[in-house]
């Protein structure tokens, strides 16, 4: 069975909101040793993208789109629960969306990946106010902060957040995912150490930080 076959098998019940069928498929593929990265990159994300396209083109309702998202989030929670993390690497990551961004599936996947690689992960999910992110970052002193961001509408608040974060925690590394437009990247570049193009790219950057000696608090 090709990955495309698996994607079609998963997308059909996902579009129908059939939770049990989606969960059963994931369980079946888990028994077949399907690596999590392939599940995330080749099945869950493309399936959700199809659901999103269906919503954009008005063939799926917003409720169907939310149901599909919830199914995927529950699978990710299951994966987090069942995952067997590597030994702790002594590094902490704070992960979530920039303010005004509500699409937190990608940040949830990254949280799963980093946790499995031995990071202590603090995943707050979707939009929270800038002040609260800064307060938590200050208390946690993370080695890495990962944000997801998609829209130009969040630029102003994100620029302020990153500027303040850099001033507050100059040695903490900052990574952003989901931002593909060069112009947007250029605006935020002074405050960002890495723009991740994929989960693999983000994980590689995290590994490079994990390989460095821990900071003295």
């Amino acid at each position: 069975m090709t990955r495309n076959d698996q994607l079609s098998m998963f997308t059909e019940p996902l579009l129908a909101g059939d939770r049990r069928r989606c969960f059963a498929l994931v369980e079946e593929w888990e028994q077949q040793q399907l690596p999590d990265e392939l599940l995330y990159n080749d099945i869950l994300i493309p399936a959700l993208a199809q659901v999103g396209t269906g919503w954009e083109e008005n063939s799926q309702s917003i409720v169907s789109e939310h149901i599909a998202t919830q199914i995927v989030k529950q699978i990710l929670a299951y994966k987090a629960f069942r995952g067997k993390p590597a030994a702790r690497n002594g590094k902490k990551a704070l992960i979530g969306c920039v303010p005004n961004e509500y699409h937190d599936v990608a940040s949830t996947i990254l949280a799963n990946i980093l946790e499995r690689e031995g990071w202590e992960v603090f995943h707050y999910g979707n939009s929270v106010p800038t002040h609260d992110i800064l307060q938590s970052a200050s208390a946690l002193q993370p080695d890495l902060v990962c944000f997801t961001m998609k829209s130009v509408g969040s630029m102003e608040v994100t620029e302020h957040l990153l500027r303040d974060l850099r001033a507050l925690l100059p040695s903490t590394r900052v990574m952003i995912g989901g931002l593909h437009m060069p112009g947007l990247r250029a605006v935020l570049a002074p405050f960002v150490d890495k723009f991740a193009d994929s989960f693999g790219d983000g994980a590689d950057f995290a590994r490079s930080i994990a390989a460095q000696p821990s900071r003295v608090a």
């Binding site: 130009v152 630029m155 102003e156 112009g183």
Partner: protein, 142 residues
């Protein structure tokens, strides 16, 4: 597509004009929504609560994106949003004149509420966007 390649200029808009736009944004948005509500071409949309809600939401998000685009000089981001919006609205039976009307209403309202500033440069960028929409709809019809 010629229209897609045409550059949209936000470079001439002065920082103080963007600041003023930001200050007046809520008033401009209200005026834009009011103008769309009273446009005869959109009577069906106004009468349909779900599409009326979408129209208002689109105007609000457009205004946020316009402001960020002006501030950070990122016309490509606004064009990407308008391209997405056109596809989204087409699938919900919005007339092709909706986005040009949104842009025209924003031009008019910007002039009205930025009387102590230079609103011409913002209006010119909106006019170029309107022209682009017009070209795209001509291409689609051809």
């Amino acid at each position: 597509m010629e229209a897609v390649a045409e550059p949209i200029s936000f470079g001439a808009i002065a920082a103080q004009d963007i600041e003023e736009f930001q200050k007046q944004k809520e008033k401009i948005l209200s005026a834009v929504i009011d103008r769309l509500d009273h446009n005869e071409a959109f009577r069906d949309i106004v009468a349909d609560p779900e599409r009326a809600r979408l129209a208002k939401e689109c105007a609000k998000i457009f205004m946020e994106n316009l402001q960020a685009t002006m501030k950070y000089q990122l016309p490509a981001a606004l064009i990407e949003y308008l391209d997405w919006l056109r596809n989204f609205l087409t699938h919900r039976n919005f007339p092709s004149s909706f986005i040009p009307s949104l842009l025209a209403a924003t031009r008019t309202a910007t002039h009205a509420f930025m009387e102590h500033c230079d609103s011409d440069t913002i209006a010119e960028a909106l006019r170029q966007l309107q022209q682009r929409e017009h070209s795209l709809s001509m291409e689609a019809e051809a």
